[in-house]
Subunit: 673 residues, 2 copies
């Protein structure tokens, strides 16, 4: 069982765009990572504010991503009469492209190491908590300053869990329009049953277009398509935004995930899944408006369960402990051995604080979820309070650097459904009552003498915040704002306690541990994922399962129909009419989905998969079940990334969707539309 | 908000068959409860070992119950090729009737008060725990003695939470054969969405026949049918076996249910529901073999959620506290006031012990569920150990009085599915790991160095207990038996601690409280439900919902089709082909389902609803959402029982199922088949 506490093994790694393992790529694969190619790929990659990846794929600002990354927008653009998730969508000309209500796309423009400046701010701090606060303040100041100076969206990224700080600057686009999406029935063919599985048959793609000043963007960089796709064994790269990994966690921390954190997350997901399922059962419209959340919950549940399954093999934590012992042996006699042990102790202490503080922190702050209106109410309440302070003193999400993003969400015209809002608020209130009991002072305060559903109904019916105009000039006595105000002091206190007693000591601890790792292994240690741009490399390759089954690297379009027939009667395997009608015309042998050894994780969804020339050969949309352990370990023998093959995409666009203009735009360098 | 801490209000009450409120029935309804009629109804009522009620409804031992009570047998009688739940079943002659593998039906024959004998055994005991143990031992002795003397199944029932002990003797039948069941699609039309709702359109019925010595039973008593059904406002009775209520609980205990017990139960149900759903998603056969468990889980989840919704209204516990204050005021100056306060304190202390002991007790003993094979292994292990002792010293379920029931389950030829057994064992092991962490000594012992799934696979593949012959002469080194043996000492210790520190003090406390209530209210206090025969009376009557909607008392067969059309596309509302084909022939206006004010709860499913002459007018199958609070309070304004109308049943049997012979048997006194 490989792991990143030791140096990266072949094809493992989510590499920083400014720290590519160029020597290794050259030596092992003869691949030349030229600065021009790297810049080209970096500036063609796109980060979605809805939590996914994408890439610019035409001279006219066309952006490719997954259907399940775009689906949040598809839902927001839908009505009871026009259900884009069900029917799919194709703009026949630019005039038909649908503007998204609150989508933000970011393209990474530059990286600057600001570690010294961040750490300098903490020098001389009285304790770990004060040092952490000083660093957070310095970070906000750096971001504000950069944003003012460059006009670019500026974010300081914490790398190696607190060992380095890099300032990332992005070009940001907010006029984004929907161009093409297939039906969910084929984008997510097989549903939860086939999610994280392979063989797969999913057209999990979606296309948007960036506009600037009302015209399609003419990007400096975009990825060309290789209509011939990739071959088995070929070297391929992904450029995307893996959300989060924990491979550098101590063994104690991994055991804590296994015994505390992940089980807690699963319990929350099980509850949500059942609540959402029962809400969907009430009728077709209820099903439509909660479906996106529901898919998200199911996806999270399957991913978390897969990770927990891996963690609950006692061998996993044992291997982590063995690696720590080996590292200490390697550092024997060096001062970094003590750093490592100090760091490990600090992390262990922070986990005790975690257990103590988590109930309040999660309930009141981090996972305080009572629906859209509750979120808007909190944002309005805090914006007013925070705006009275200098930007660097505010909660970071209310700082100047983040203002445009904040307002884009806050004033979004996306629909809000009162019946769903009542449910969400009920789920939150009853959840607090389940966890704390009805005699808990906070629960009493929130329920105000009523049952959860009665209270939720009163709040949702009473608030004016469904109206965007009411958000722009909010009445601070609005019942939903008053509701959030009644716990704001507790919520802020819970956040501060968390930052001071969990987050800051953990960062300091991991900074010491990272120093020890660098001392032992040098630059071969890549940082854990941070939802920032990373490169992974790998090869197109099937695998052999634990019980000996050989899984081939490719599936075909024809296989889709066979799979549908073998699962007849299960709604998750019902093909859309467009595919049934086009069956005879489709080239059956065309590759549809494929697997490769690339090291990816959630957030990489929508990443382009490119060949050695930087041309698109696939579109990452999933990992296999074995990849779910990738949060803590990478096992190249079985961990696989799953992509849509360009050949399957093109054939489906041509034959099923009659989207010839889109195919032309993707396969020619110029502007064909 | 009415409640049974005060005396029963009109139409509330689950009355003991030997303590009917005859005077009140006479005064209010002019109803004469003659001993002959009461005996007739008592001896026509049937208790199902699978946890439901029924009644003998023909001179040839035909038994009526709900489809969802019979469905456990329908599943056990099904194969991948013959799915009785999907297709339904009708025996065209007696030779086609299908013998059930392990169903046991009980008819209550006599009741004897043994309170003095049970309490005498505890006199002079050193403490509450010793007194409890002495009582349990006395109970087993009484049951054994009765069984030996009479040949009747004998059970001592604890009433009023420990205030009285009654010996119930039953005639027991184990040769039971399936006669008729409709398709699940119409028996459970509307699925989880419509469960506990009204209006309803469900043919939730199922018919079995009791055989004795290879011939249909010629019962001394059976219920005739009134083919004209009941009218709105008519007085109706149910005779059935409500499983459990907690209306006599103290306010503290109800608050404990609300804050601790029910939320814990829901968390377990959410987990099971998601696990079963994902297992069903794997394929048609997986769906078939777990479907019954899944429906049970959904049903339990919706019932528990409904109860918790009621409990989380702060007014509920407040009303309980107010009633206790009123009771104490009424008893002011009497010694029973102190009894009440002592009892309340003892109950409160037992709840502290509950919290402390529940994790071990539930995990190792009461909810130790790792599948059929694990259950069989534990039974074989314990049977061997217990049989070495005199019956009165054994765990009660291994006593002589229970031997036939035990063996009927243990040696049942019902199918066992290895793939489902692996899942269930995995769910159990991973559940323990989630709750206790992998470093817990018990978890370590059970996993034996493997992950939960690997360990479960090894155990299920290794055991021989799927073979009934291997159970009759068990190898005590069988891996599954060895597995259960490895925790048996812990499990027994957890059970003893629970009995001594939770159960016994609670019984003593409630005995004091019951004494106080009897002093204040006399015999008008009926005991909480105990899955023994109870009579309820009520009237056929709709209700008005909280938001003012009037719900009529009856639905019609024709309404079924309208409902199906309004929910087209939802699989839970897809009618079976038999109904679609018969639509034109069916008399549309025939009453199908109805509601009445009868006080029922889970376990009453399958109870006959009879008119003042004791003739069947309906078949209880559900309660409305408001009835779910019935566990702790009865609110006659909205709590409704839901039944299938005899008229709907007969019309469907005649027209949809061509079951004329069955109709004749049900509607004539003699033997028409």
């Amino acid at each position: 069982m490989a792991s990143l506490t030791s140096p990266a093994v072949a094809e493992e790694g989510m590499w920083l765009p400014n720290a590519i393992p160029a020597a290794e790529l050259k030596a092992k694969h003869g691949f030349e990572a030229t600065p021009a190619l790297l810049e080209h790929l970096q500036k063609s990659a796109v980060r979605f504010s809805t939590g996914g990846s994408g890439s610019i794929v035409s001279a006219n600002g066309l952006v490719m991503t997954n259907h399940h990354v775009g689906s949040d927008m598809l839902a927001k653009l839908s009505t009871p009469e026009r259900d884009l998730l069900k029917t799919g969508f194709l703009a026949r000309d630019r005039g038909q492209e649908l503007p998204c209500p609150d989508l933000e796309l970011n393209v990474l423009w530059s990286i600057e190491d600001v570690t010294d400046r961040v750490n300098a701010a903490a020098r001389g701090a009285a304790d770990v908590a004060a040092a952490g606060a000083a660093r957070r303040k310095a970070i906000t100041a750096i971001e504000d300053e950069s944003e003012k100076a460059t006009g670019l969206t500026s974010e300081v990224v914490t790398l190696w869990q607190g060992s380095r700080y890099h300032l990332y600057r992005y070009r940001t686009y907010r006029d984004v329009r929907l161009v093409f999406a297939p039906e969910t029935a084929i984008a997510f063919f097989g549903g939860d049953a086939d999610n994280f599985e392979f063989p797969r048959y999913d057209l999990d793609c979606c296309f948007f277009r960036i506009y600037e000043d009302g015209k399609p963007l003419r990007p400096g960089h975009f990825l060309e398509w290789d209509a011939d796709g990739a071959k088995e064994g070929e070297l391929v790269f992904t450029w995307g935004h893996p959300g989060s990994t924990n491979r550098l966690y101590t063994a104690d921390h991994v055991a804590f995930m296994r015994d505390v954190e992940e089980p807690m997350g699963l319990r929350r997901l099980w509850r949500s899944e059942v609540k959402q399922t029962t809400f969907m059962g009430r009728g077709a419209e209820e099903a439509r408006i909660v479906r996106e959340d529901f898919f998200g919950t199911q996806n999270g549940r399957k991913a978390t369960q897969g990770l927990l399954d891996a963690l609950q093999d006692p061998a996993l934590v044992e291997s982590k402990r063995a690696e720590e012992a080996a590292l200490l042996k390697r550092l024997a006699g060096k001062p970094e051995a003590k750093d490592f042990e100090d760091g490990r102790r600090m992390v262990a202490e922070s986990l005790e604080a975690w257990k103590r503080l988590a109930p309040d922190y999660f309930a009141l702050e981090r996972r305080m979820r009572g629906g859209e209106l509750a979120g808007i109410a909190r944002a309005l309440l805090r914006m007013k309070a925070e705006d009275a302070k200098p930007s660097a003193d505010r909660l970071p999400e209310y700082g100047d650097a983040n203002r445009e993003s904040l307002e884009s969400g806050l004033y979004s015209p996306a629909p809000i459904y009162p019946q769903l809002e009542i449910e969400r608020m009920t789920w939150m209130l009853s959840g607090l009552a389940e966890e704390r009991g009805l005699d808990d002072p906070l629960v009493k305060r929130l329920l105000a003498g009523k049952g959860p559903r009665a209270r939720a109904t009163e709040l949702v019916r009473g608030t004016k915040l469904a109206d965007v105009a009411a958000r722009r000039a909010p009445d601070m006595n609005d019942p939903m704002i008053a509701f959030m105000a009644s716990i704001d002091a507790d919520a802020r206190a819970a956040r501060k306690a968390w930052e001071d007693q969990v987050q800051s000591p953990q960062r300091d601890g991991y900074a010491k541990i990272a120093a020890a790792r660098f001392a032992a292994f040098g630059d071969s240690v890549y940082p854990d994922a941070t939802f920032t741009l990373r490169m992974s490399y790998g090869t197109v390759k099937g695998w052999t399962t634990e019980d000996g089954t050989k899984v081939p690297a490719f599936t075909t379009l024809g296989g889709t129909f066979t799979r549908a027939e073998s699962r007849a009667g299960d709604p998750a395997f019902e093909l859309p009419k467009s595919w049934i009608d086009a069956r005879a015309k489709l080239s059956q042998a065309t590759p549809f989905n494929l697997v490769s050894t690339n090291d990816i994780i959630g957030g990489n969804s929508g990443s382009p998969m490119v060949d050695a020339q930087g041309r698109v050969v696939g579109l990452i949309f999933d990992g296999n079940l074995d990849s779910l352990a990738g949060d803590v370990v990478f096992d190249m023998t079985r961990n696989r990334a799953v992509s849509v093959d360009v050949r399957g995409m093109l054939e489906a666009m041509r034959t099923v969707y009659d989207a010839g203009a889109l195919v032309t735009e993707l396969t020619t360098r110029g502007d064909a539309r």
